[in-house]
Subunit: 131 residues, 6 copies
């Protein structure tokens, strides 16, 4: 269904296959999901994306679960079906309960609504909100 | 600059003025920001939005600071300048440090990038991601 | 502030000046707003846009005021500040009352919210909704 | 296919089941569409959304059919497939003819185009368009 | 699956059928893709869209392949699945190689990321960037 | 006006200052634009963004000017004012003529319009467009 084929371990180039193996090792699973198999059509983009994702999603000042929920929020606003599915699954694997999911959705819906109201009203930014 | 005037305590209808007073009381401040003053042109919408916002942003399964960061993420994806300013200020008031802000932005940027890549590649959702 | 200069009657090419004159004649005003003055940097695009806009916004099965409100709704969802300002002004000139504006905004906000919820939930389309 | 299961009358909580019954009664139909069955995973969000939708979409200064068409316009701009399907069906049920649908689409397409042109040109808002 | 039926040569109105024939002649193919068959429900919109598309996509200061890649970029940002599929196919037919496709995607992803960062940071436009 | 201060050579951390110097050297200019000065609040994000941007925008299978125009197209669709300004300036510096700019805008506008029409019509992807 995609605009490029999903590459298997056999059809991917060795550099892409190496990234698949790294994904398997880091995630302790045999499964490599479709996003990586599509990106494998461009091994340098696959490598750069996988490297950067690990840095960005690592524990830091923010908890990895919080990062996953932020990822879901952006993906919802951009209407990215695949991303919503994969990061909702990832958030659950990191401990997102149904209650947390429900509150996340309520916030995302509220934000979308007030974003639209603010756009329609063209509200000027209060001086005190500027850095 | 807006499409409606920002109403003051004097120009707002009594129902809107009552919401202003409730905002002041709940937030323990004298300041009512422009979003509410613009919404005051439609008192029932002002009331409904204020009521719902309090419910949605209250502490629950998610921390109020996490909710503010999710709110920023959605507002960034929707390009709502006012909302980004006001919720970044709110998140700071609730304890968002520069390190947390930096990680939030890195996640938001990464999500925007992979959302675009997934759209371009039209990646099929893996069966295991479906509920 | 734009990426191209706003052309005046003196700096615009004759083909663009002719469109300015047609705008003045059709709208019965001396004022040509900035959108057209920016588009004038590309006279064929100016002409094509003005011609098409007249056809699309003319009275038909839908009332011109309804069309203006639909235009506002799209512009809000796309976050186009100029478009929101200009079409809100146009809708008022065609009879949009504050009550109509308020209801329009409530619908736009509600739609943005449920759009986000549906994206987050990835709801399957009911068979009965398909043509 | 969703990120949450679609709840049936049997699997939904009693509070959600009560909303289903209210939807049936108000709409005079036995059918409860998937959006509500997905939202039922969070009964308070289901209740809040259903309550608010009824208020917002009720006859007022704007006709319910105009409201449905505005809803379609926002949903198109946000690329919400489910919402476009369900509100197009709702608009037809409220009397939208093929001619009205065609004009709606022409306006939505025109607005999307000029929104993009305005963004590209970064047109400054005319002083006369500000409230 | 659409909100309107896809019209065949038999079910389309004569004006729409004439556009189908023109598409076949200009593209030297017997195949008329679904976009046109959906638009055929509104023959004047079909005609206007086909006419305009030919003008806009014709060789000029920009190469038709560059135009197709720009079209893909916009469609990705707007999350239009059909458009991404059809214009990726069109770009390939006009000579887009896998290397070009890969670089296009890297740019689109980078732009989406920095667009989000700029929104989050609310960066002021440098004076030197203004026309 | 931003959500973070624009850092100067004096207020930026040494790691950020080093990136500023690299930008000056690579671009052969003394000027460091506001985007980098805002990103400097998070030196690792500044470094990662600058490194990646150089790779992505370098000459390759696509010409750097084509890449700038694709960047503009995405930024227009995402409504990123700063990005539109800065990449339009960059494209001009790389040789974009007014004629090329005009054609770029015509394609971007056309794509936005047909994206909206396709969303409204919910056109099914033709089998032949799938990889």
């Amino acid at each position: 269904m995609g605009t490029v084929p999903l590459l298997t371990d056999e059809t991917a180039a060795p550099e892409a296959r190496a990234v698949f193996d790294d994904i398997r090792a880091k995630r302790r699973t045999d499964y490599v999901n479709n996003f990586w198999r599509a990106l494998a059509n461009d091994p340098p983009l696959l490598q750069a994306t996988w490297d950067r994702l690990q840095q960005v999603m690592a524990p830091g000042a923010l908890d990895p679960l919080v990062k996953e929920m932020v990822y879901i929020a952006v993906s919802v606003a951009n209407g990215c079906s695949y991303c919503i599915h994969s990061h909702t699954a990832a958030a659950r694997a990191k401990g997102m309960t149904p209650e947390m999911h429900a509150e996340l959705l309520a916030v995302v819906g509220m934000a979308a609504q007030t974003n639209a109201l603010v756009h329609a009203l063209q509200v000027e930014v209060d001086a005190r909100f500027k850095a």
